[in-house]
Every structure is written in structure tokens, then in C-alpha cells.
Amino acid sequence: MRLTYAKATPLLVLAAFLASCDKPKETAGITPQQMADALHAVMDSDRTIYTRLVVNRLQNEEKIIKASEHWKDDKALPLPAQMFRYGSEMVGKKTEAFSYQLLSMWPVNKQNAPRTDVEKTGLKFVADNKGKNYYADETLGGKKYFTAVYADTAVAPACVGCHNAHKDSPRHDFKLGDVMGGVVLRIPVQ
């Protein structure tokens, strides 16, 4: 069978169309998971640095100033978890493009216990599978979200010391390096 120009033209057009359809996939930007991972990398790094270089150094090592849940009244440093939450609240005021929370299966404040099925499953997964993240889709309030759960690990003695001694903590045997909870990050998707 001879391939004439007349027959080849529609095929070329179709090929060009398919090629153009494929193009956006290459330039469509990052996936929700990539975005979540990148955001978490920043959060986790900032949080670790504040914990180690500010709280642990000034409170536990050099004993210059304490960190306190009631930092304003006690003229103390905000706790690392509070710094994280304040950031989350400020982000909540600025954008609805994503949201994040620090949660735990052993929360000091019971409002920070997992509530949704994804939170419950995800927090258990990251606690049981060290080094792995948990990803899922969920629908909340009629909106769809890509939800990522990352382990929150005890990076300094200040973390375990405070949680183990806290009267409202349901667990008192944390050790350095233990998974103490998780960061739940949500990105609304179509």
C-alpha cells in the first residue's frame, strides 16, 4: 500500500496533536506529592534547626534560658512544637493552597490526636515504618485533598525530656530518635 500525501497528512496532524497533548505532561509542574515533599523538607529542616540550635543549646546545654509552653508568661523560649504550630497558623491566614498540622498518637493536647481515617492510618504507618512517608487522597467537608504524613522524630534531648515529663502526655518512655508523632500536610486537588 502506497502512502500518499493525502493519506499521510491526517496521520501527521494526528501525530502532531498527540505530541502536543503529551507536552503539558512534561511542563505541567510538580505533582502534589513533590510539592508536599518539598514543603515538608523546609518545615522539617527549620524545626530541627530551631530545636537543636536554639532550644536544646540554650535550655539543655548552656542553661541560659528555658523553653516553656507558656513562654510569654514565663519569659521563655517557645517550644519547638509551638513554633511549628504558629507557622502553620500564619500559613493558614495567608493561603488555602496547603495546610499542615503536627499531630500524634500520643498528644499532650488531645485536640492534636488523629481524627480522620487518613490521619489515623498515616500516623500509625510512619511510626511502624521508620523512614517511610504515607500518602493518600481524602475528602473533607466536600473537598478533595492530597494528604501526606511524615514522621516527626525526637531530634534532641529537649523533645523527649519535655514529653516524658509532661503531666498530660499519655506516653513517658520516648527515647532520642523515636517517632513521636507526624506532620500531616494537605493540598487541595481537583
Partner: protein
Amino acid sequence: MQRKTIIWACWITAVIGLSGYFSWILVSRDRTLFLIGRTTDGHHQIELACEVCHTSPFGGRELLQNACVKCHGDDLARENDSHPRTKFTDPRNADRVAALDARYCVTCHQEHRPGITLAMGLTLPGDYCFKCHQTIFKDRPSHKGLAFDTCASAGCHNFHDNRALYEDFLAKHLHELPLKAVPQVAVIDRSPTSAAWVQRASMALDRTSLRPEITARATNPAIVKEWEATLHAKAGVSCADCHMPKAKGQTVAQWIDKPGHEACATCHANENAGFLAGRHGMRLASGLSVPLTPMSPAMARLPMRADAHDKTLGCNSCHAAHRFDVRHAAVEACMGCHNDAHTRNYLQSAHAAAWDGEIAGTRPPGAGVSCATCHMPREIHHGEKGDFVLAQHNQNMNLRPNEKMIRSVCLNCHGLGLAIDALADPEVIRSNFSKLPTHHIPSLDWVERRQRTPKPSVPSTQ
């Protein structure tokens, strides 16, 4: 045909007439006709400046929310709001929002709904805490069996401001004596060398103002004598500084016989901001859609003296122009208008006796308790030249709910236990704290019980 024409003519005339009438009312000062229901006590003074809340005729909840935040946002942030909006915009709380949409102030605080408005302008049934905290008794066995409409009872919890009610704060103040060894509030340093004065020195005062054209106006020797005895005179604040403030863009200042709060604000910006945000000055705040006359006791919903109804409120109505006697402003000025049992009982109270002692010099400065001591409390400010103390002129900041007073006022002199019990007892308040409370709020007892619970043994952190 002619009859039809007449009917049409009447109809058109009526429509045009009524439209014109209502339009005229809408742009005039008195829009009472458009009020769809009695406003709350907090807003009644500015109820005719509709656009303060209804910023657009086509606005929805978001616009109303912005209006609420514009006036109340800073206060909520300062109070360390226990239920900020971000808590409810978080997707994980979508189910809670479905039960109680606390993203919007108007969910709990509707205006123009007198039939359902409770204390604090709450327009929800008082047991709303149930919607999110129904399992609280699992964490706090002491709360088992408590009715949910008692959560926000005096001395327990507050939806927004829990600065004096959170558990660790109560724990810090267990077993305090009813009266402290040195009952005393912070003293305002009024000397011209104080940090507050130094701060004000940078303000736009015309200190060369005893010019002939100005002194020529100061012909009343009684007024000049009064002024000479004031701190204003000592600090070099003279006639022109108040009577000839230069308005923006003006090169030549005009003499003003009765300067308003704007002139005082040149140096007393902080106090002026408090005055304009509070009950006394909110009608004069800038940004109102229609200019309102100053507040007057005749407009008040609280009981006022009949002979004070014609007064109008500005800085000078309490501070007495030229004399600027802060002691007069702290008691006599208040009693000159307010006429409720709490005010009338003040003069027989221990607080008044302490105030008399301070005035007489038998008690140290700050040991007396005037009306202003509690309702316009001293606040410490951190300035570039050092800390200084100023009186907060926005009485709303520590008035409702009255637990707001605990930290700013009561704890200067009293233990937390007495303060919580007293503020929860309406009869004690009515007597102006001349009686001991007969009710007891058990929150401190519960905290103490939790303190006695053995602490967990803490293993090594490594």
C-alpha cells in the same frame, strides 16, 4: 380613563415621594428607621453608622467578618485567642465547622437579635462547647456530669481569652492569701524625665508658643493659674500646643477655643487610641460612615445621673481642661455620671478607703483603688528609652467577661482564689467588693488535686 390617570399619578407620586424620603433618611444622620432590631450593648453607640459593619450593600459573611476583625482583631490577638479562625479553616476540622461554623464571628454573635442575645453578645444556646468537647470528661474526670452550659461560667473558661484561667496559671497561684503583703498597682511616672515624657518629647509641640498673640488670649487669670500648677506647665506644654494645633497641610494654625481629643492625641496617642476604642469615645472614632456626636450619658444604657444627661464625652469631660487633675478623673469624674449600685457603693468600700489613704499620703502611691484603677488599669509599655506605665483608656479591654480583670487588676493586690470567687458573685460586685463572696469556684481545687497526682517516672532521654 381620567380615573385611571389619577390613580397612576397618585401611584407615581407615592413611589417617588417614598423613595425620596427613604433615600434622604439613608444619607442623613438619623437612620433609626432602618434598624432591624435592637443592637447589642457593645454596638448600640454606633448603630447608626451602618457601614462600619455593612461595608457593602452586597456583602456576605466574609465582608461582615472583615468588619469584625477590623475592630476586634488586634484585641483577640493580644488575648491569645483560644479559638482563632485558623483552627477552623484547617480541613481536618471540616466536620466541626459543619456543627459550628466558628470561622465567622456572626455564627455566635449575631446583631439585631435582641430575643436571643445573651451576655457577651452571644446568640447561640450557652451549651455550644458540647459540639467539639463532648468527651472532655475522659481527660478531666473532674468535669464528669457538668452541664455544658456551665463551661463559660465565671471563673472557668472563656471561648476567646483564657489568660487568667488556664490550668498552669491556676497552678502557679494556688494557696495565695486573699490580700497580698504589698497590695499595690504600678505607678504612672508623671515626671518630665520619665520614659513616657521622653517619648513624647519627639512629638510635634510648638514649645515657643508663649507668643504675644497667644498670651493675649490667656486673659483669664483663674485659667492661667490652673495651668501653672499642671505638669503641662512644668513640661513646657502651653496654650498654643493645645489651642493651636497645626492641622495637616496647614501652615498657619488657627486658634481653637475648645480643642478636642485630636489635640490631646498629639502627645497622648496611646491614651487617645484607647479612648476611641472604648465606650466613652467610640462615637468619635475616625472611619465611621456618618459623623456622630460625642457620647453623652443620655444615650447610655447603663444607669446615669439625671443631672449628667446633657454632658458630652471627650478628654476634658473627665480630665477637666486646664486643671488636668488625674485624681479627679479617677473617681469624681466617673461618679459625676454613673449611677448604678456598684458605683454608688464605691464610697463605702475598702477600695475607696485605700484611695483616700493614698490621697492623704498615709498609703504609698499605687496602694489606693479608684474607679480608674480597675476600669482603666495601668499597663507597662516598652519604649526605646525604657519601660513606662500608662492608663488603658479602653475599658472594654478588661471588662467583659470580667475575668479579663484578674491579671491586669485584681492580682496586683489579691490572691487568685479570692479574685475568681469575687468576680463570679454578682452581689459582691454590686456591693463594690464590700462583701466576701458566698460562692466558690472549684477550679483551683481541681487543679490542686491534679497536682497531687503522682508524676510519671522519667526515663533517660538518651
